[in-house]
Amino acid sequence: MNPLVLTLRERPDQRLDLASLVPHRLAGMTVAEIEKIELQTTRRRVVLADVFRLRMGEAAHIRIEASSNRLDRIGHEMAGGEIVVEGDVGAWAGRLMADGHLTIHGSAGPWAASGMKGGTMEILGDAGDRLGGPAAGETAGMRGGIVLVRGRVGERAGDRMRRGTIVVEGAAGPYAGSRMIAGTLVVVGRTGPLPGYLMRRGTIVLDEGSDCMSPTFIDCGVHDLVTARLTAGFIAPYSARAARLFSTPLRRFAGDMAALGKGEIFTRP
């Protein structure tokens, strides 16, 4: 495997849109064609060669080196292959991703994994607000795949999530799993106030609990359920820390009773 390597020359003076730099779009393109791809988000035209040093390789394996938080939409609609980013990324990383692997050896901005449909996304640093959340006007956020965040996440992680799994090894901001439609959100670290705010269905699992649980979540007692074993078995290859959380019986809160109320939050008893 000989990856296609893009090395950022310096921090760009405008935000750049990297939506076109995904394996299925670069497949079959020549060096000259790739170097002419436009990335600007302002009126000042920027082509790839202006900001990146390109080392040609297989388009199915893309490496972005010396990345910056001004690089938006990395892995947009990714349909397969692999993108590895060394450094931070901007907003909308992995937006509408359908398959493949996106690994960020740094932190991601807001709306990472927004509307994600499949594949695996790993963020070794922190993620911003609305991880997996919908874009304005969309009725659902993430609807498949698995997202792993080794660090912390901002507000409303998993907002309007419909399917798939999010695992956060660090702490989560307020309203984690807000308006969830279904799916699974696991937070190993401490969670901010009001997790599961207005969730309809779905599962939130909190290891260290929340600063403030909503009174619209109702205690259903401590249970040792088969589903916990299955969840642990599914998560274990991605995060041993998160999988360990399921080794003891968990307390189940049903809610959000201010919405449909068929969701659940599991916490340590």
């Binding site: 399917r163 798939g164 799994t165 279904a182 699974t184 269905r201 599962t203 249970h223 040792d224 359920l225 088969v226 589903t227 074993r229 299955l230 969840t231 078995g233 599914f234 068929k262 659940e264």
Partner: protein, 302 residues
């Protein structure tokens, strides 16, 4: 009919005639192997023959806790029927009445197949709106709240159209005791073969049947040619010394599995020998025109 003799046991030069069937499998787990076995036994009770039970079902083996999806001990059950619709009906009814009801149970697909049958997708309505759908990767499960917690059930299980039903061995002996001993070792050997079941009680059937009857509307009746008490009164298939015939019927997910099971049974009977076990092994067929699968005993000898 030509005969062969191996270690004193006579083997008829005949064949078992078997039919194509639809089959599926489920894996039942529970907190202990005792309760996994109990659910499996209950589900496969009254499932000896498609003639009267709708399906043929049995336990295909136990699965170690490390190899089940929920890391609890499990039992794999196979179900065979003559049509996909009947198989779906039997699967749904049996899992609903016998597995869903069994303490601590969970039920998973026991077979991968391009075509599927509804498992949890049919049972979820028991949850009365409180059922929860969970997808992990390519797997889809239903969680149904029940009085001991939750019944967890995979949404679908696989269907195979390559299954074979009706592989058989006729075990003929001098006494009831020795013939049963031979049938028992054969049944035990067949139980170790993967992807097959012997659906009759303990794997053994003592009332082999022929097609039809002297009475109107009776589809099958006693196989009088193999009844030792009628030996002098009818055209018999038994020799003068024979006093007991027991049969083992074998259903398998593939034709090869049925052949392997029959070979294992024959080997076990021969190993036991004619003094302690059976004097003769034969097989049942309908002349070879009804069933597409023929298992010649001479090809199955150890």
């Amino acid at each position: 009919m030509q005969e062969m003799t191996v270690k004193g046991v006579r083997i008829d030069d005949t064949f078992a005639e078997a039919f194509g069937m639809r089959a599926t499998a489920v894996l039942i787990t529970a907190d202990s192997i005792r309760w996994a076995r109990q659910a499996a036994l209950t589900m496969t009770g009254f499932a000896t023959s498609v003639i009267g039970c709708g399906c043929e079902a049995g336990v295909a083996g136990e699965v170690a806790a490390e190899q089940t999806p929920d890391r609890r001990p499990g039992v794999r059950v196979l179900l065979f029927a003559v049509s996909t619709a009947e198989l779906q009906k039997q699967l749904q009814a049996r899992v609903a009445q016998c597995v869903l009801t069994s303490p601590g149970s969970a039920c998973y697909a026991g077979l991968d197949g391009e075509e599927t049958l509804r498992l949890g997708n049919a049972l979820r309505y028991f949850g009365d709106g409180w059922q929860i759908s969970k997808r992990f990767g390519s797997k889809h499960y239903w969680r149904i709240p029940v009085m001991d917690g939750e019944f967890l059930c995979e949404a679908t299980t696989g269907l195979t159209k390559q299954a074979v039903g009706g592989g058989n061995l006729l075990i003929i002996g001098r006494t009831t005791q020795t013939t049963l001993a031979a049938a028992e070792v054969a049944s035990a050997a067949i139980a170790k073969v993967p992807d097959v079941i012997a659906p009759f009680p303990g794997g053994i059937v003592r009332s082999g049947s022929k097609v039809g009857s002297k009475y109107k509307g009776v589809p099958a009746s006693t196989n009088h040619a193999y009844c030792p008490t009628l030996r002098g009164a009818v055209v018999t298939a038994l020799d003068p010394g024979a006093a007991c015939v027991l049969e083992i019927v074998i259903d398998g997910l593939t034709s090869n599995a049925v052949a392997a099971a029959m070979a294992a049974g024959v080997a076990a009977i021969i190993e036991l020998g004619p003094e302690r076990g059976a004097m003769r092994i034969s097989a049942g067929n309908y002349g070879g025109k009804l069933g597409p699968h023929h298992y010649h005993l001479r090809n199955l000898l150890p």
